[in-house]
């Protein structure tokens, strides 16, 4: 027994554990530090290589394994979607023209929404993360900052949490830590008027597993309906206004209060995103929006964004 647990070995283990405890305390803040940046610097090229290689193989296999029936079905689905979008585009063009005429009549000057974006690739996915976090190949050297929004062509997918020299970690919008002030435009059939409704986009492990989000703190008599488009409201100056998030699938009664919540399906494929953009700057970044927002739900002391 004495032989089994040699004291010299135990001493080394204790010294190592103390050193690791100090390291943990030093790096726990999640801010860029020498150790994390060094690991990122060494492993990034290899991660880029394996991500690129495995992505190409998977893409090839996916195309190859689709049956003729599946391809036909997909083609039909896309054709229907295309027809629907064409109709919407016609409607949109009419609305744009009408809007421009009204603007010129009322002499409204348009504010230019300037957004700076940086293209990046997903190089790693954390296998332990039930909220589908991932790493991208751009870091502080490229101008990425903690808190920047990460988007794809389809919509918002996450927020930068840790920034190292050449890589950054992203918490997806499925994470319970990620809260986004959101809004949607609702149509009231009774009064034939449009109004904004605000809420907070969040998620949970179970919703994340099903690829869904929830928009909390809606009014009890909310006008939000299935299919409504949810965008970032820009309140708080954390994310740019009008950043598309997803569409409403259903509206439910909250389990904990009299307010309602909407189940939202994100437009972007968060679990399989490969190419992303980091929103590094936009008009009104970090500026607290103090203007009252119509349709805002009553303040919930436990809400905390």
């Amino acid at each position: 027994m004495r032989e089994t647990f040699k004291w010299s070995g135990i001493k080394k283990l204790v010294v190592a554990l103390v050193a690791l405890f100090v390291l943990n305390a030093f790096t726990a803040s999640g801010k860029a530090n020498f150790f994390s940046s060094a690991i990122g610097l060494i492993t990034t090229p290899l991660l880029q290589m394996t991500a690129s290689a495995s992505g190409q193989v998977t893409e090839y296999l996916n195309l190859d394994t689709m049956t003729k029936e599946e391809l036909k079905q997909k083609n039909q689905q896309l054709s229907e979607e295309n027809a629907q979008l064409r109709n919407q585009l016609l409607d949109y063009q009419k609305k744009v023209k009408e809007n421009e005429q009204l603007k010129s009549q009322l002499e409204i000057k348009e504010e230019k929404a300037e957004v700076s974006m940086l293209a990046a690739s997903v190089i790693a996915r954390n296998q332990n993360d039930v909220f589908y976090g991932f790493s991208i190949d751009k870091g502080s050297l490229a101008g990425v900052e903690s808190g920047d929004a990460v988007i794809t062509n389809e919509g918002m997918i996450g927020v930068i949490t840790d920034v190292y020299a050449t890589t950054s970690n992203v918490k997806s919008i499925f994470s319970e830590d990620t809260k986004v002030a959101a809004m949607t435009v609702c149509y009231d059939e009774a009064t034939s008027t449009y109004s904004d409704e605000s809420g907070v986009i969040g998620s949970s492990a179970i919703l994340a597993a099903n690829g869904l989000l929830r928009m909390d703190y809606l009014l009890n008599d909310t006008k939000i309906k299935e299919g409504a488009i949810i965008t970032a409201s820009g309140v708080g100056g954390n994310y740019p206004k009008d950043l598309v998030i997803g569409s409403v699938m259903s509206v439910e009664q909250s389990e904990y209060s009299i307010s309602k919540y909407a189940v939202v399906k994100p437009y972007a494929d968060i679990k399989n995103a490969t190419d992303v953009f980091v929103v590094t700057d936009f008009a009104g970044k970090n500026e607290e929006n103090k203007e009252p927002v119509s349709g805002t739900a009553p303040t919930d002391p436990e809400a905390g964004e």
Partner: protein, 170 residues
């Protein structure tokens, strides 16, 4: 000569761990089973510990753990501490009471993976106050353990091969 072989062995283990880290975190390489993907780093550290003395075993445990901590985007040191202890214990057991073979590798891999994965669940999920901890343990962390174990035999043979090739006296 034996010193040179020892360093070659250690370099081979290090390269293997870095490669497994890249493969493990590669977004599309491993097909998900029950929605999860395996953690290759734990079997790597455990099987290296089975064929090495406690100090190198502990060092490779720390190295592997640091990469896992970096991958988990949390403070460095948590998985490094867990794997340091696990690898130290497994190395001592392998040199005293265990015979190094596939069966003992699977048994050691099983309990070490379950301990590491569920300590991660406890400290990085439950204690952070996230919801549905039981659901996540059953639907995510448990399948991860089983998927990880499926790949353990292959990693065991690689590490035993490295140990035998670069340590003639083994």
């Amino acid at each position: 000569m034996s010193d040179r072989k020892r360093w070659i062995r250690f370099v081979a283990y290090s390269l293997e761990i870095i490669l497994l880290y890249a493969l493990q975190d590669s977004p599309w390489l491993f097909p998900p089973i029950f929605g999860v993907r395996p953690i290759l780093m734990i079997p790597a550290a455990v099987t290296i510990a089975m064929v090495e003395k406690e100090t190198p075993a502990m060092s490779f445990g720390i190295f592997t753990g640091l990469l896992m901590d970096f991958s988990a985007s949390a403070g460095l040191g948590f998985f490094a501490s867990v794997l340091a202890v696990l690898c130290f214990v497994i190395s001592r057991m392998s040199s005293t009471i265990l015979r190094v073979n596939m069966m003992s590798a699977v048994v050691s891999g099983l309990w070490a993976t379950v301990v590491a994965v569920f300590l991660g669940w406890l400290f990085r999920y439950v204690l952070k106050g996230y919801s549905s901890a039981g659901y996540v343990a059953l639907h995510n962390y448990l399948p991860v353990c089983f998927y990880t174990l499926l790949l353990l035999p292959l990693i065991f043979y690689i590490n035993r091969g490295i140990a035998r090739t670069f340590r003639p006296e083994y």
